[in-house]
Symmetry: C2
Subunit: 145 residues, 2 copies
């Protein structure tokens, strides 16, 4: 079967302590799907996000002992207003996130803040007036110029 080329089935976050990481996402209201030893999966729009041991992930990648890094791949959640960005940012800090940048107006005309989860994975929370979201929260990019 031929699937669309542009798709991501699974996003895996390498973590030092699965229970701590899982507690963080639970504190944000996320609910895991099923239970498998050594990993936690969350259902997103047509894909999954998994928490998996950082050391085990390096082994799985075929490079055991490598200290895997974070930061250059970031995940963003968009919201329909600046107030909801502020609320999401505050909720993340309350859940144990570390602030990188308090939400502020940014050069591209939106409003955005950044934090890291307990393992250094970077999340952005943003309001982008040029990227309206569907009722279910999904994004379809506007037609380009």
């Amino acid at each position: 079967m031929s699937y669309p080329k542009q798709r991501i089935t699974l996003i895996t976050l390498g973590v030092d302590d699965i229970e701590r990481a899982s507690d963080f996402y639970a504190a944000l209201g996320w609910v895991p799907s099923g239970l498998t030893e050594g990993m936690v999966c969350f259902q997103l729009h047509g894909q999954a996000l998994m928490l998996f041991g950082r050391v085990a992930l390096a082994e799985d990648q075929g490079r055991p002992g490598t200290m895997l890094g974070t930061g250059a791949m970031t995940l963003c959640q968009s919201f329909d207003s600046r107030d909801n960005v502020d609320a999401a940012f505050a909720a993340a800090l309350a859940a144990g996130a570390t602030a990188l940048k308090t939400p502020e107006a940014v050069f591209w005309g939106g409003y955005s803040g950044y934090y890291t989860d307990p393992d250094g994975h970077v999340w952005e929370v943003a309001h982008n007036p040029f990227w309206p979201l569907a009722q279910d929260g999904s994004l379809t990019l506007p037609e380009g110029p």
Copy 2:
């Protein structure tokens, strides 16, 4: 408006050379949406993937000068057969990817390989017999035990 908590609007890859990065994904058959100075966006299932300068991304995160790392957040594409995993892996290498692990049978009952894109972002290509994909390539996690 209240959106689902478990969703990712945008995945951003920090890259050293946007044209080189864009050429890599184009060689895999990806088609960008629109054109904006200094970034390239691709439409995925209900979300977007963006290529953005690594230095600019660190600035945007509120920590200019930070060398952002890679590897601990990985992106996976699943396929319906081992042959299609092998084909995707070969296509990535032909497009300029660096092999981390040639696809092989793995402990959880699937078949998986890893490569990095030109900026060190880690992709997995996998066949997971326990996670059947919908016709459109999307994944809905099976009900847990």
